[in-house]
Assembly symmetry: C2
Homo-oligomer: 316 residues x 2
């Protein structure tokens, strides 16, 4: 691969953008930030071949798309808009220029969906497998939503359906940025995060940051059909897949119970306009508690212990 | 390595910082930006084992330090202060927790030298070699210095001494941030960049962005003693090492000739206060030309062709 040819192609593939007064050709890029009180929101995330994707199965374009979407999902988690992303790519020396282009186009496709400019990058070639790192700058008109504001008696909710993403959704998910921005407008959200490692691992993190606990009703978990499919094959109940599988990239959030009628108006009543348009289900799955422990609610309302992270592997 | 133990250690190793209202425990970090007209400056840079360092020779701490300093050198190049950095680390599965800590401490040591908080990170483990990616957010009170402002007849200058960094300086260099900020205060700098790939490759990039050319007097290049040492071994003239070797991480900049007396007062006169304290030599090496070609000045003032990038390898 002729590196300069690729870099020339790259700069032609990145359109000029009034929000990016200094672009990829300089030592750093400059981005105008329409920020909340001069707060810059930052995130970095990597996607590695045979860890986060598998080039034996997935295309370069799919890998690039996932690498960017993983990072953008964290923008959704904070209810902010991505203002810019940067890419760092360690390319295997077996990759040709077409591979590099496809990878970049996957990244670009994901970023463009959210009108997010790619403002910088670094490409190296080595004799190891592909590593793609994405850094995002977020900008928010409102105070960003963090993991630390959940209060006792808050309702716990999730977007979408959970479990079984390994069957394909872990490559094709869409970051819930638009939904997060809508929810943040509609609801007095007290805390939010995205589900990347699975509810069983992620909810304890939110609770730890908020210094609270939680009770989850497993029978209320929105189970994805993929979790059902997996269940048929591995005999692990679909509900446990929904609880423990990673890479759902759905939103987990809390709000006061008093706000629930906004999300769930009386039967027959219309959903709030913007929310109805989004057509992504939102489900209440539990309640925040003052004690800093987490429990599942058993069939007879007894409190069951929280499943340990990774239990689904060690139990086999 | 127990990942959670390392993450716990990591969060204790990152002190709380009033400039970082939301820290590494959330989906994104928030940084207060004391910025110039809401401009955020961004950079991403990777350092790979056996490409940018060699763990068979260099310690984890030295690798971390270099990874961060490479990125901070681009802050110097724009004459901005680093407001925050983020780290993404693909750790080989043969690394133990001590390795991961040492790597992080190297990163931290480099960042602390410039009072720059580490605000986020991502650690994965894989069966490949170490890859460290650093993303920096820069903040500037002045318009950032770019590569695109050089004007015909501007003087071309470099900081420090060039060549032979492979003997060790490529791991131990110090980003010229303080010097860049001082220079930007003292001089009407028209363009600036850092020398990462060597003058022979980097100056054409600056010229291309500025739509100008350049004439360099090779006999005026400040030659590092390391270039002399290399020359004894490989019989390539030290001056060619100074011209073509990479990883000097010195500053290359231009300013109007009329400003030169600020840098070079009459013999015997004192240097401007701040600059004298820095004690890093600054050398004029050439002049910007209106034609968009680059030349070396020969011993009889004839114009010689610019050395091709990588010539020193292909000529052997």
């Amino acid at each position: 691969m002729r590196e300069n040819d690729f870099l020339n192609w790259l700069s032609s593939a990145i359109p000029s953008d009034p929000r990016v007064p200094i672009n990829v050709g300089d030592d750093m890029a400059a981005v105008t930030l329409d920020s909340y009180k001069n707060l810059a929101l930052l995130k970095i995330d990597q996607a590695l071949d045979k860890v986060h994707f598998d080039l034996a199965i997935h295309s370069a374009r799919a890998a690039g798309k996932k690498a960017v979407n993983r990072c953008l999902s964290d923008c959704a988690a904070m209810a902010c808009s991505p203002a810019a992303i940067m890419l760092s790519v360690a390319l295997p020396n077996t990759a040709d220029e077409n591979f590099a282009r496809e990878l970049f186009l996957g990244c670009k496709q994901a970023a463009e969906k959210f009108n997010c400019p790619i403002v910088g990058g670094d490409t190296s070639i080595w004799d190891q497998r592909l590593a793609v790192t994405v850094a995002a700058l977020g900008s928010s008109h409102n105070p960003p939503l963090t993991r630390s504001g959940a209060k006792p008696n808050d309702a716990i909710l999730v977007t979408g359906k959970l479990g079984g993403s390994i069957l394909g959704r872990h490559m094709t998910f869409e970051p819930r940025i638009h939904l997060a921005l809508e929810l943040a407008k509609l609801l007095p959200i007290t805390s939010m995060m995205d589900l990347s490692d699975g509810l069983a691992q992620d909810l304890p993190r939110l609770c730890a940051r908020s210094k609270v606990g939680a009770i989850i009703a497993p029978q209320q978990l929105p189970i994805h059909p993929d979790a059902e499919t997996l269940s048929v094959n591995d005999n692990i109940p679909a509900g446990l897949h929904a609880l423990a599988d990673g890479e759902d990239y759905e939103l987990l959030f809390t709000c006061p119970e008093s706000a629930l009628p906004i999300l769930f108006p009386s039967p027959g009543a219309a959903l709030p306009g913007n929310l109805a348009k989004l057509a992504i289900p939102i489900t209440r799955i539990g309640t925040i508690t003052p004690e800093t422990t987490l429990h599942l609610l058993g069939p007879n309302d007894q409190l069951l212990p929280w499943p340990k992270a990774g239990w689904e592997h060690s139990s086999k």
